[in-house]
């Protein structure tokens, strides 16, 4: 029986069911730890009118930036965008909507979405444009905003290693938003560098338990570096 075997072998299968108008949560910070190939598959499918929830929107020609080329994105929910010219152009022409959300609030909204917490309070954004129209409340003499959870029809995630049950670990700072997105997708798809045997990962050291994961695919990755900074070796 299939049991918990979540491995799929084609990117077409990995993104099966993605439809126009859906909301997609994407892991990654800048170009680090982004689900490169799952994004390419969304481009290949030409799915349109998407709402993308991701800290950033890639760069021209790489990462989520490629979805702008054919105007597949209707709305971005992000903390920092505009590392690419096409994004700026579409935004100014009103072809793209952006909901800017503080980075920590964005992370917590995804976590809350996965954890069955419909809303929470945070001091972040009080008295700023982010707080406009939002309910505020005083706790212990301080003012807080109420922020609502985010969930997605799909979550696309980049892991390092996973077993076929969907247990995932991330490599270094490529973790970032990935485990949060993973919890909050109705269908969570994780692409990894390596699929390992089911007993290879230490149970106490798994970043994303398999219960959150619907599909696993092994891919190969360019891992483009956004700002290559090095020191001299002498």
């Amino acid at each position: 029986m299939a049991g918990f075997d979540k491995v799929v072998t084609s990117y077409a299968d990995a993104m099966a069911g993605l439809e126009d108008g859906m909301t997609v949560l994407a892991g990654g910070f800048g170009l680090c730890g982004i689900p490169e190939n799952l994004i390419q598959e969304i481009k290949r499918r030409q799915t349109r009118d998407l709402t993308i929830v991701s800290n950033n929107c890639g760069v021209d020609g790489f990462g989520l930036g490629v979805l702008l080329e054919d105007k597949q994105v209707r709305k971005m929910i992000s903390s920092y965008v505009g590392e690419n010219a096409l994004f700026e152009k579409q935004l100014l022409q009103g072809e793209l909507e952006v909901e800017l959300t503080p980075q920590g609030t964005l992370a917590e909204k995804m976590r809350a979405g996965g954890a069955g917490i419909p809303a929470f309070f945070t001091a972040t954004g009080v008295g700023t444009p982010v707080g406009e129209g939002k309910e505020t409340r005083i706790f212990n003499g301080r003012e807080y905003l109420m922020e609502e959870a985010i969930t997605g029809d799909f979550a696309i995630v980049k892991g390092w290693k996973a077993d076929r049950y969907g247990n995932v670990i991330y490599r270094h700072t490529a973790q970032n938003f990935n485990p949060l997105a993973a919890t909050a997708g109705k269908i969570t798809v994780v692409e990894v560098e390596e699929i390992v045997e089911v007993d290879e990962l230490d149970p106490a050291q798994i970043h994303t338990p398999g219960i959150y994961v619907d599909r696993i695919i092994q891919g190969s990755f360019e891992k483009r570096i956004e700002k290559r900074t090095v020191r001299s070796t002498d």
């Binding site: 910070f29 920590g104 020191r231």
Partner: protein, 219 residues
């Protein structure tokens, strides 16, 4: 003389204490790491999920999976930890970071800060800045005292949309070290050779000048 960027970083570094967890923003704040007194240990938090950021890697050790919040390739120090963005901002929002240093466009006498948005210019986003200013008790803002055209950035009331409300108590400009208390900037130190008159002239918000305002000393 107005402070150089390096001198500003040097002055901020004097606020460090041994054992501090510190978040440094992009620009001048990043330079602070170069001036931490010898023998003092501080640990740098990078909000993309790294506590214990180290120096840049060598050509040989560059790793696309190891970056900081400025998206630069970095290394991790011994004793570092790496975690999700939710955990990272739990630390920040929960007040566990001892010191945050960041830049700004404007600060006002009520501790408001504007640093992320200039209306009618393209807005790229606040990133983690709003969480950082809301989460930290101890924040130092670094910026030039006035714009290139001479307009003060230390105001009675911020004109630009805020990043945070009532959260700033310490400001280092290229001219002065100031603390915000009860609706005023208190002039605590001035840059070497900078007159109190110049600082007064370039400070639009209420400025309190104590009897003695020492000059900063740089080695």
């Amino acid at each position: 003389m107005a402070l150089t960027r390096e001198q500003m970083a040097q002055r901020v570094a004097r606020e460090m204490q041994d054992g501090f967890y510190v978040n440094l923003g992009i620009g001048i704040p990043t330079l602070v790491a170069n001036f931490i007194p010898e023998g003092m240990e501080v640990m740098l938090q990078s909000e993309n999920g790294l506590l214990g950021m180290g120096e840049f890697p060598t050509e040989e050790t560059v790793d696309a999976d190891m970056i900081n919040a400025g998206k630069q390739t970095v290394t991790a120090v011994k004793g570092a930890s790496i975690f999700s963005s939710a955990e990272s901002f739990a630390m920040i929002r929960g007040g566990h970071v001892d010191l945050t240093v960041l830049g700004a466009f404007e600060v006002d006498v009520n501790g408001n800060i504007a640093s992320w948005m200039i209306p009618n210019k393209l807005v790229k986003g606040m990133g983690g800045a709003m969480d950082l200013v809301a989460g930290a008790d101890n924040i130092i803002v670094t910026m030039t005292h006035a714009s290139k055209s001479g307009e003060s950035k230390l105001l009675t009331e911020c004109a630009l949309p805020l990043t945070g409300k009532g959260c700033i108590k310490k400001v280092l400009t290229d001219l002065a070290w100031l603390e915000i208390e009860e609706g005023a900037f208190i002039l605590k130190e001035r840059a070497p050779g900078v007159s109190i008159e110049e600082i007064q002239e370039k400070t639009q918000g209420k400025l309190i000048v104590p009897d003695h305002v020492p000059e900063m000393v740089f080695a």
